[in-house]
């Protein structure tokens, strides 16, 4: 992928079979960034991902607090519901979500179809169940005595949650943010369906697809776009790879 992106366009189109080039060039990157407007799409993808990560993590953190530090009726039921939500195939929900977005768009500007807001909302929803589940373990590991101490010091429950608990579970928050980020970043289906005509609101995957032309695929450009899209994910993957192994460890020994 990287090799093709660095190849001069002429060499690619001539069907030069050597898998590498001696004259690497950034021309493909320049082409997709400047001419095809990938800068804008990159920004859109980042924007959506950042909002989703913030909103979903916040919602999930609060929910995780409720589900671990309190005992109340329906608690187990809710836990199971969170899990079931995780199992629902999002692909099947595209149709109703499309109509929901359409309706919401009439009432609330900024989150209807064609708007980045629609993507943010949908992905926030789909990121929450997993985030709740991941954060639950972190929140549960904070000893109860700490809460009592804070209470004795005069902190209310909300103060405790925001000032004490949140910093303590920060590593967990980071990990689950990365998961949400990757999920949102990779999305193809919703971006394809919701962004109808607003070219300026396209995200990277769709922009990449638009480089596929009837007969003259600009493979250098496509590969350069692919590199741009894959890099952040790869970096984050390296960040969480230990967590991946750990999470799996638990699952395997289960």
């Amino acid at each position: 992928m990287l090799l093709s992106a660095l190849k001069p366009r002429a060499a690619l189109e001539a069907g030069d079979p050597t898998p590498y080039t001696l004259e690497p060039t950034l021309e493909s990157f320049r082409r997709v960034l400047l001419i095809d407007g990938f800068g804008q799409y990159l920004l859109n993808s980042v924007l959506v991902a950042v909002v989703v990560v913030t909103a979903s993590t916040l919602c999930a953190f609060l929910a995780a607090v409720a589900l671990t530090r309190y005992r109340f009726r329906l608690r187990t039921t809710l836990l199971v519901m969170v899990l079931t939500a995780q199992m629902v195939p999002v692909e099947a929900l595209t149709i109703p979500l499309f109509f929901l977005m359409r309706t919401l768009g009439y009432g609330i500007p900024g989150i209807g179809l064609n708007q980045l807001g629609s993507l943010m909302l949908v992905h926030t929803a789909f990121a929450i169940p997993l985030a709740v589940w991941m954060l639950r373990a972190f929140v549960a590991s904070v000893p109860r005595e700490l809460e009592e101490a804070a209470w004795l010091d005069g902190a209310g429950s909300l103060t405790f949650v925001t000032r004490v608990l949140f910093p303590l579970v920060a590593p967990g928050v980071v990990a689950c943010s990365i998961f949400s980020f990757i999920m949102t970043w990779n999305d193809f289906l919703f971006a394809r369906t919701f962004i109808i005509s607003a070219q300026e609101n396209q995200t990277l995957p769709i922009a990449l697809l638009s480089l596929f032309k009837p007969d003259e695929n600009d493979w250098g450009g496509i590969m350069a776009g692919s590199v741009l899209m894959t890099l952040p994910v790869l970096v984050f993957f390296l960040f969480v790879q230990h967590r991946l192994a750990n999470g799996l460890g638990g699952a395997v020994k289960g």
Partner: protein, 792 residues
């Protein structure tokens, strides 16, 4: 009070959901009525092969328009012709997101008008002088029931392109009948096996139709108010049989030609790979710039008898204004500019598009003899496709290309293929006309639950406060859509019902019955199950083998292997698909080049997505590539977790290596294997992106469809949202079933596994009633989280 606060809240929420949402959403997508004098004007034009000249003309028009109108920004987006159906469907459903002006094919207009997608411009055009110079029959291609929905932007007619040098060298005459066209093609290929006799593809409907029309056949005829398919008539079959002979190994091999669209067919000729093709006047410029320019000539496509001309399809595109526009006046002015005489002439010079204005065309014909054959073709009489909204469905579902391709592939004979196509056509025509008007159901709008518990600080209420944000988002974005999905699947829910143009009709199980009676559904279901099974087996085999390998490698090599796997794992589905498509590109892809270079045969131009199984294999390989790392890492961790002493003890007892692997290690790995297997089943069952991207939305004639893509196409390309939802419900149920098996397996796995830590864990887990499912589910989610990333 103690018990009621949460309970009452739940009851309230439930009640709110019930009372506000007992019907699928039905919102009029009515025009805003606003007419802004400035702002952004969005324009959709079709992307074409070699469109740079088109872009230049359009850019000039945009610059002129922006200079004349202060504060107006014109944004032009070029959309692919192939996926226009879903784009326009989406635009009509949500007028607020629709562009203001769009180019559209005249064959699509009837459907668009049925969807109330375009503005009636009759009055705007009545006092616009240039419009009088458009002949009545040409103007009619932009009209439905006498009302104008746009201005014809250009006309397209097709004729026979041939190579003078090739025919001369082989001492062949220019064909005078359709029969001779095919025979000449055969003669050329016999003498020059590397050349296509005539490049005319299976997906090139407008090359196929003249054959049918010339033999006296047609797609359908109007009986009363409804069209009835006549593609299975004896005349149609004769024409189709003749066209089918082109797609044979001795004229244009199906391997290469079956998939070809019009553009691609002509491209072969321009590249010097074909002796003949059926090309349009819009291809003339490309012809002039091509390497065969000196040796090419054009004549009208002959009919069945010498001296006749086969009826051509009266193609052409119009420019229209979409109903949702908030800048109606500006839009109409832009249409008048871009479809005006000046720019139509420029478009002719740039792209070879035949102007719609009679006077402009006449002027051209006198100065440019190249378009002579096309004018002659138009004069000899043109034909059109059925003027009905159903045409959009026929086109989107690829009924006619599918018919030709099945014949070409030798799967069926002409009779059976036309029978099937006729049935599919009649179904499409019938659906468009049968519009029931019973059982109107009231359609309240969505309202979001706004209930909030009182701000008491009691520990009973607090958790609910923390839960509110998540519950709100999940309720609106997950639970409610799920409910809507099920609901919609019981309704006749298509474009008119969505916009409220027609009342909703509760149809009970009709959508499900239609699905179960549709052989295509069963084929897709079989595809899905088979594809998922193959992918799962492939993933397990590759992942398992590499996991075992990893335990035997030196740490340094192992690190490299893991890094490589991590790369594949991290690659988003879209970019992964792009990379694989590049590798297997027919002409420029490294794989074909390598195979050819290795002397394994001539693979240049070999299309991997043509054959159903090779296309599935390609996508499957990509899926395995991006999901094996999960299996590998999991199993590797599992193998590593087996205590050394156990293996050591077995070895001391005299067990062989294979026996240790089979009787000692495998049972201990069972939980890990169970997890990765079922997890893989779940992902591979709902593959969407890879199929959509790599096979272009489901492959030739839908041969590579899987359930998710099928539902998407039914809903967003054909506009049958009720049917699409029914497929979605079935998919969801199947997945839930798999998940249930998954959870049971996880719960049971302790019985098979005697590892001490598991027993301890089970004992611990058994401690609290609420904890046991949680522990099981924890494991499930851990795996989901880790593996789900790559697959998406």
């Amino acid at each position: 009070m103690r018990l009621t606060t949460p309970a009452r809240l739940c009851a309230l929420l439930g009640l709110a959901a019930l009372t506000t949402a007992c019907a699928p959403l039905q919102t009029p997508g009515a025009a805003s009525g606003v007419d802004e004098p400035d702002g952004t004007l969005r324009v959709w034009l079709f992307s074409e092969v070699d469109q740079a000249p088109k872009e230049r003309v359009v850019d000039a028009a945009v610059a002129e328009f922006e200079a004349a109108h202060d504060g107006v920004d014109v944004q032009v987006q070029y959309i692919p012709v192939e996926t226009r159906a879903e784009r326009f469907q989406g635009a009509f459903l949500d007028p607020g997101s629709a562009p203001d002006v769009a180019e559209y094919g005249n064959t699509d207009l009837a459907g668009y008008v049925e969807s109330a997608g375009f503005v009636d411009l009759t009055e705007d055009l009545s006092d616009w002088e240039p419009h009088e110079d458009i002949a009545a029959d040409v103007a009619a291609t932009a009209q439905v029931d006498g009302a104008s929905y746009g201005v014809p932007w250009f006309l397209g007619a097709r004729a026979l392109f041939y190579r003078t040098d090739v025919l001369e060298e082989l001492d062949l005459e220019v064909p005078r009948t359709l029969e001779e066209v095919v025979e000449t093609g055969r003669a050329v290929r016999e003498a020059r096996p590397g050349m296509l006799g005539i490049s005319a593809g299976g997906a090139y409907t407008y090359a196929m139709m003249p054959f049918v029309w010339a033999h006296g056949g047609d797609i359908a005829e109007l009986r009363g108010d409804t069209y009835a398919a006549t593609i299975d008539s004896a005349e149609s079959r004769r024409g189709l049989e003749l066209y089918g002979r082109i797609l044979s190994d001795d004229v244009c091999p199906p391997q290469t030609c079956s998939q070809l669209t019009g553009d691609a067919s002509v491209q072969n000729f321009l590249a010097g790979n074909a002796a003949m093709t059926i090309g349009g006047n819009f291809n003339l410029n490309a012809l002039r710039d091509s390497e065969v320019a000196e040796n090419a000539a054009v004549v009208p496509l002959p009919g069945t008898e010498p001296g006749t001309v086969a009826p051509a399809f009266a193609g052409g595109n119009n420019l229209g204004v979409l109903a949702g526009t908030e800048r109606r006046t500006l839009s109409v002015e832009f249409v008048k500019l871009l479809a005006g005489k000046e720019y139509q002439l420029k478009m002719y010079e740039a792209m070879g598009n035949l102007p719609a204005y009679t006077d402009v065309r006449e002027e051209l014909a006198s100065s440019d003899e190249e378009i002579g054959p096309f004018v002659e073709t138009i004069d000899a009489g043109t034909r059109f496709v059925p003027v009905t909204g159903a045409w959009a469905t026929v086109d989107a579902e690829g009924i006619l290309p599918g018919m030709v391709q099945r014949v070409a592939a030798g799967n069926t004979d002409v009779d059976q293929a036309t029978d099937e196509a006729a049935r599919a056509l009649d179904t499409a025509f019938g659906e468009s006309d049968a519009r029931g008007r019973q059982t109107p159901v009231s359609a309240p709008a969505v309202r979001r639950p706004t209930g909030r518990p009182p701000g008491s600080r009691s520990r009973r209420v607090e958790p609910w406060m923390y839960l509110v944000p998540a519950a709100l988002v999940l309720g609106v974005m997950l639970v409610y859509p799920l409910y809507q999905l099920v609901l919609v699947s019981f309704f006749d829910y298509r474009q008119p019902q969505v916009t409220g143009a027609e009342p909703l009709e509760f149809v009970g199980w009709a959508n499900y019955r239609a699905l179960l009676a549709d052989p295509q559904f069963w084929e897709v279901l079989l595809n899905t199950v088979g594809f998922a099974a193959a992918c799962v087996l492939g993933t397990l085999a590759v992942g398992g083998a590499l996991a075992v390998l990893a335990t035997r490698l030196t740490p340094w090599v192992r690190t490299v292997l893991f890094l490589a796997a991590l790369g594949a794992w991290a690659t988003p589905a879209v970019t992964g698909s792009a990379v694989w498509l590049h590798l297997f590109d027919p002409t420029l892809g490294p794989v074909n080049q390598a195979l050819t270079w290795l002397g394994l045969g001539d693979f240049s131009g070999h299309s991997w997505t043509y054959d159903k199984w090779s296309a599935f294999a390609l996508v499957g390989a990509q899926v395995v590539w991006c999901s094996f790392p999960f299996v590998m890492v999991t199993l590797y961790a599992g193998i590593r977790a087996i205590p050394e002493e156990v293996v050591e003890a077995a070895r001391l007892d005299g067990a062989s290596t294979s026996r240790i692997a089979w009787s000692v290690m495998l049972p201990m790995l069972r939980p890990a294997v169970t997890i990765v297997t079922i997890q893989s089943i779940i992902w591979d069952f709902k593959i969407f992106t890879q199929i959509y991207v790599m096979t272009g939305g489901g492959g030739i004639a839908g041969q590579n469809l899987v359930l998710n893509v099928y539902a998407y196409q039914k809903a967003f390309a054909s506009g049958q949202y009720g049917l699409g939802s029914a497929i979605g419900v079935i998919t969801t149920l199947l997945l839930l079933l798999i998940t249930l098996v998954y959870l049971r397996a996880l719960r049971r796995q302790g019985r098979y596994c005697d590892a001490p830590q598991t027993q301890e864990r089970r004992r611990r887990a058994a401690g609290g009633a609420g904890r046991r499912p949680a522990a099981v589910l924890d494991a499930a989610l851990g795996a989901q989280a880790a593996g789900g990333l790559g697959g998406r």
